[in-house]
Symmetry: C3
């Protein structure tokens, strides 16, 4: 959310590139923006080459014009620093800005997100540009936010990065002895006797491709990922500091990308004034995936509203099949963002470019160039609604009694693990629990391992493979104090450096869970000859991916395996620990199971659903001084019903409902029921 004294409604707009068009088109743009109730534009995302034609020259003349023009036309500006793609001359003159790929291939000029984060040239000139922009435009009071660079990401394996990696390691570990210890280099005789012995883990050294990228040394590969995320974060921080010098009051963000594996957004969020992100769900993907990404983004800053920085109004251009967003779907996705905490709704892009790879990406203004399109009409209708909503929803928070732990280090560690199965998938595991919660209409927060747990009744940390130093103690305290903790197979194995906690799995969680996991059996995917099951409350469910062979050490067994030599061993346990309890799901099952089991868990923990009714309706709650807002979204193609617990009025349709009354939601419909 672009939190600012200048903002009095849900901002509505998108990426605008007038520099790609002759000025006579700008006027038409303004006419169309007004028609569609657009009030904010992201400017200057890819103008570095235009602003700095050579090493010593800066030319802001066109940007001056654009800034004046949009200001005159009453538009707010989300102001980008243009450093998402470096100029061609810079690549020619200073090849250190060019990245090296995972296979050692040195890049040439081209593409975007193309700068080495440890390039001295990149750092010098990106910061210089950000500073110049801030200095020059600091007095534009319609600038509502800084948009640093664009969709940061990727990796680089160049020599500069290698040298920086050694410095980063030296700073982190102090001595080679400690480095050798945490990386367990006595294995395969990898002992380093000099910092310069360390090389980056890539296809030339420790990583290789064998049904996906693998590594010989998890510790090295894990630290590289941390280092790379930090390196790019440093680039962000340098630009942020540069603009803050001139405009300390303009909030700063950069557009994130949901569950993006390369960057530890939880670390990044600490450096951002507010979260913004770009949402591009694939056609046909379950809407719960997108909901989960919204919740992750909201959780990065403890529930503070965020901005939907980009979404397509109609199609994307890069999918295998670029299917159209059906009528109503753009609106549905826009309100889904709001339902999960967004206070800003923006598009990529305002006007379709005529050349290069995004010319068939959807836009507010299509190639036909006028307002007479289905897409424009839908955008206009939503613009009207948002205008009517005014500031009602601004700043609303989403209360939750359930927390789900998500941790980037753990994600990396699970992906990098050699064994027990290539089907180990942290995202999928989290998603199974998330989806069940959402369909049960139970609100949740994503938390990182640094976040406080004390406000929650239930904490779920499926596949907490890496239980970092001290985190077990945080869980221990939480459970002792009466909380309900839940985790699943492949948890508690390692500490922060992916070194195994010896003495029996799940390591530091063993006493809390009251179990010992002796072995784990990988279940081949799709192998008809090896169907494993278990029964919970007389219903049989599948056991997939991994089956732990465990022994209870105080925990109660709720279900056991039906098959194989481990038939009868526990698959589902709960351990009373202090005033709380700790449950363990020793395998992957299906949604039927997760919904049943979580229903029981929540009931016992005293967590209630937001409403009763169709599990296909997405329901969330937000609250601010104007009251509480129950969002009801129907992503299906059929009508759905939900029974309200409280009376209220639909902000969109105007209907008023009594407590206990049914809301009927037609296909793709949205309701925001305000109660006071």
């Amino acid at each position: 959310m672009i939190e600012s004294s200048k903002v009095h409604k849900i901002l509505y707009g998108g990426d605008y590139n007038p520099e790609q068009w002759p000025e006579e088109i700008w006027k038409e743009d303004m006419r169309l923006f007004k028609l569609a109730h657009i009030d904010v534009v992201t400017l200057n995302v890819f103008s570095w080459a235009a602003l700095q034609p050579d090493e010593i020259t800066y030319d802001f003349s066109k940007l001056d014009k654009i800034m004046e023009y949009v200001k005159e036309n009453g538009l707010k500006v989300c102001f980008a620093t243009s450093t998402g793609a470096h100029p061609a001359w810079m690549a020619r003159k200073y090849p250190d800005i060019l990245r090296v790929e995972h296979n050692g291939m040195k890049r040439k000029f081209g593409a975007r997100h193309n700068s080495c984060p440890n390039s001295p040239t990149y750092r010098k000139y990106s910061v210089a540009l950000a500073a110049k922009l801030a200095e020059r435009y600091k007095d534009y009071d319609n600038i509502v936010a800084w948009h640093i660079s664009n969709e940061y990401g990727g990796e680089c394996y160049c020599e500069n990065c290698e040298k920086a990696f050694r410095v980063w390691l030296h700073k982190k570990y102090g001595t080679l002895d400690e480095l050798n210890r945490v990386w367990n280099t006595s294995f395969w005789g990898h002992t380093f006797y000099d910092w310069d012995d360390v090389v980056l883990p890539d296809m030339r050294s420790e990583e290789f491709n064998w049904d996906g990228i693998r590594t010989n040394f998890q510790g090295i590969s894990l630290d590289y990922r941390r280092f790379n995320s930090d390196s790019i974060l440093d680039c962000y921080k340098l630009e942020r500091d540069a603009v803050k010098e001139y405009t300390p009051d303009i909030p700063v963000t950069t557009n994130l990308m949901g569950f993006y594996p390369s960057l530890d957004y939880q670390k990044w969020a600490k450096e951002m004034d507010f979260i913004s992100w770009d949402s591009y769900p694939s056609f046909g993907a379950e809407t719960e995936n997108n909901a989960m990404a919204h919740d992750l983004m909201r959780g990065l800053k403890g529930g503070k509203p965020f901005a939907l920085m980009e979404q397509t109004p109609s199609v994307s251009n890069w999918h295998t099949y670029c299917a159209l967003k059906r009528p109503g779907v753009m609106r549905l996705y826009s309100y889904q963002a709001a339902a999960h905490g967004a206070d800003t709704i923006m598009f990529f892009q305002m006007r379709r470019s005529i050349g290069a790879c995004e010319k068939y990406h959807g836009a507010v203004i299509d190639h036909v160039g006028n307002e007479n399109t289905r897409v424009f009409r839908e955008i206009t209708a939503l613009g009207e609604e948002l205008t009517e909503l005014s500031d009602t929803l601004l700043g609303a928070r989403t209360p939750a009694e359930v927390a789900v732990v998500f941790d980037w280090d753990n994600w990396w560690a699970t992906v990098l693990s050699a064994g027990p199965s290539r089907c180990i998938n942290y995202y999928e595991e989290i998603y199974q629990y998330y989806k069940a919660l959402l369909n049960l209409h139970i609100p949740m927060d994503f938390v990182g391992v640094d976040d406080d747990l004390s406000g929650y009744k239930v904490v779920m940390a499926p596949m907490l493979y890496m239980c970092k130093d001290g985190y077990d103690e945080k869980i221990r305290s939480f459970v002792k104090a009466g909380g309900t903790f839940l985790t699943s197979y492949f948890s508690g194995y390692v500490e922060d450096h992916d070194l195994v906690i010896t003495g029996g799995y799940p390591g530091r969680l063993r006493d809390i869970l009251g179990i010992w996991v002796e072995e784990s059996d990988a279940i081949p995917a799709g192998d008809a000859g090896m169907k494993h099951t278990f029964a919970y409350k007389d219903v049989t469910y599948p056991a997939e991916v991994l089956c732990d062979l465990s022994h209870t050490e105080g925990a109660e067994t709720l279900a056991t395996y039906d098959n194989d030599f481990y038939a009868g061993m526990p698959v589902l346990t709960c351990n009373t620990f202090g005033s709380g309890k700790a449950c363990y799901v020793a395998t992957r099952s299906n949604q039927d199971f997760y919904r049943t089991f979580l229903t029981d868990i929540m009931k016992e923990a005293g967590v209630e659903p937001l409403a009763e009714g169709s599990d296909k309706v997405e329901i969330t709650l937000r609250e601010n001084k104007n009251g509480s807002f129950l969002f009801l979204l129907n992503p299906t193609d059929e009508s759905q019903e939900v029974t309200l617990k409280k009376a209220g009025t639909d902000l969109l349709g105007g209907m008023t409902y009594q407590a206990g009354e049914k809301v009927v939601l037609p296909a793709k419909a949205v309701a925001i029921v305000q109660s006071r």
Copy 2:
């Protein structure tokens, strides 16, 4: 066709490599060639290393012997210049002749087609060799054609090519401003301020692999393809000019490869005296694919007869499964070439080599080394037939009232497009219409965008995505004058540089077609949940790949979608325009539809089929001063029937037929019915 005063029958022979064998084998070769009625051999295809053992020495002694020997034995010669593979010493001494791959990998010596087209060394020594050959052998009156190099193709991404690309661009665009305009470099801040900023589009810069090769900048990638085709063409032209100096009257060709994506053969054909090509249909491929390639090749030089330079008599060696050509199939394919315009039938290869990768490729003389093989017997039988046909068919043309537009630039642009679907496939789209025509027994010509349309009744240009400057006007005139024009979805979007024509699709074709395409929906392949259909004359057909959402602007709607939110929108339209009409097929359908629809289109346009009867029989017509020749080919394994319109005599079987009489064609049978 090797058009020469020296040629009095369909030439029959193939690639002959006596230099791989001791001389005592040559005598046996001659005996076997005579048995098989072989009268032409392609010599000297891969002898560069033998002819030029080092930088200053040339040694023609063995070639002298070979040339004398084949002349004594009454054989004509298709004389290759040997530059299809450079010598090893040259690669060691001058690495500039070695190509760089798409990923930046510099090649070493090996393989063939291995020379960088912009290598100064390659150009210098390839031309020198061609000149020396021409000078030395110019008086051999049995040389019927020059065969420059061999199967030109591939790409190079070396520094020399990069520099040459900049020169090529400078020459084409004059200024950097114009370059920046046509490549739309304001997108992603790619503006070039110096010609040296330009780098080749490859994996290191703008291209990447994501369900196939993609590019960030269509304009750059498109121009690279043009440049690369031109670069290789320059190599061809340099050799051609060198031999023409000594032998101005010997026609010059190089062996093409049908629908070969890397080279713009329409541009190449202008520099060739006659077209020759190598045909290697896969086992199990529809014979219409091969027919289409023959027609494309014939169309390159306005219908002039061409040479089938290579085909295998039995098996190829590189397919995944090298299945045998069944009995009769080699003969069938040979006559298929003739049916579509070939006056020369040649094989790769005359004698199977004993080592390296083509030793299991079929040959006239197998490893067993004698005439007692099925394959040799079939070759001999065909040789006898061709001898009996004498000069009857020579020079015959194939009259047609239907033209199908094929354009290499359009092919490249569609392949490179980011969106709307990776199933966009120009070849496949053309093939659907082509196959329907062929099965309807309607003759056609392939035309390029430079070719005249005035002689045709119907012009079909499916998926004319790139409608080049002025080409709309050519179509406009054609239709106004009474012609029937037909195109399909994904047409008219861009001009020559892949820049979108704004104002509404299909751009410059909008007035001609009388429609506006507002959106296009990509249909996921094989998605059972998303079957789209439409009905034409009460029969339901599938709508696949892409469904345009369009509005008529004067055109008549012939069919509408059955499904989805665009049910009722037009899928098939025809617009009366001037004295003609312009039809549009807004989606991909199936053969049943194309056959039905084209039957109606042709009937209305007054285009008649060559004969009635089985749609599985391939029927073509050729005409010369000896009369008209109706080719009937039955590629199936069952007997088929065709009813003749005119009386005539089968040149092969000797049977005489009356008009209206049925020809019965057994499996794999061929008839050539001559009428006068």
Copy 3:
């Protein structure tokens, strides 16, 4: 088998890495080893970095301690030289030790098996280390074997290898004329005029990836494989000679890997005192695959007992799905090794490491660190059995009347062949015949082409594509003398350099087999439309992969094709030749066929099965001065029965059986019936 005066029972132990653990753990290790009856450990596999911290320093202090400690604890030592992975400092200082990959990518430090075999640095320092170890520890009388390096393998394409390749070629071929002849370089004008023209065959030169790696020049690629195997073998020999200088009486081995394609183990075996190998069957793989690998390993040294150097007690870490070895399976696999000739049973690894890529690989001592695991209990039980078996089985040989030819050169040549089918698979072809024999309970030996055939009644050489100079004569003599020879399609095509033997396939085997193969038809895999069959003794069997079209020249036709244009042509022939006969199977069929046909062949040749009963039980025979030992293994999950021919006593269960009595084997059970 570790044959030594120091060995009096089947050695039992595995890889032990105490250097990865604090010394206080060592004591616990010893306690647990004793519990489990462990008596041998492989030490020092990956300690190079520890032993040689820089170029001039060697530090054996920790190894001294370890050696003392294990000696004190009564353990024997399999002593590794630690050269399987070079130290990081060496890679930094001497990049020549780093390999270059197939695509030209130069490696950096990382992984293992990472040294260029032609690196002067590697050779210098690996030999130096081996010598130092031998000198220092030569008086330890508990060293039972040298374990040189570790799992040698892989390829290198660096400049040093390229230069060494030229030297190797020069030595082998003497002249460039001969090199050009054997590589058939007149093809594609590849003639070499200087040894330095030769480059390594890789992605940069002659090889490419097209449904797998292919090559343009089979001769070059074949010689590269020979050269690479020899280069690595040279490394082994240098180390072996270094240790032999100090410890001439300690047998030397290196751990092989079964059917490992990169190294010609038949050539290697000549340099090894005994064979040892690492066996890691995939979960779900047929146990016959592993049995075949054991037999191949035993065959390398003419039947001499070998060592199972590594197997996992429970799981591996690198499989896609690391399923657990079920209860009894580790024991079953251990006895399978013994059944096929092993006198040593060892594990990787003794204690699970806590970091890096093998931390989830199974171990005797798991991360829990104690004896209370299923796996440890199974290991202990086996340890007890092996202790009880004492020296009873030591040195026992496996008599056989059937030989199966396996030849690495032939393997390489078939893999590299361009045509006739990518389904040509030498391993699979051999496996079909092997599996049928094993299931028929007929013992066999693998022989190489240098091995004597005279002791066998039947010699089988399926897919003997490369019939080397003189090998036809060996077969000819064998058959003339009354032997039965059997081969299959794609045999006899080429000589040692992959040059075709002209005059008709199967070349030099034509007279022996009494057939001429005119053509071969590749059968597309899984093509329902092309099912080929033949009938043998009234039962119909499939004909797959390749169907030869052959003519008998004296042979008797036993079966003919049912389909296609070659229906009626022979598919199964036997030729009486001298006092013996030679049979030919012209296609690939299924196990039903192979079992039926081999039953007939064996009956006629007078070869008898070891026992009657379930074909699912694996049965082998070993003999020494203590009697004969019939091994019976039941890998299935059901009980199986076998009828004994001789009376005897089960060494494991203690049961005594009469001749003709049934042995009932429960699931996973093993019996060793001793008869005298």
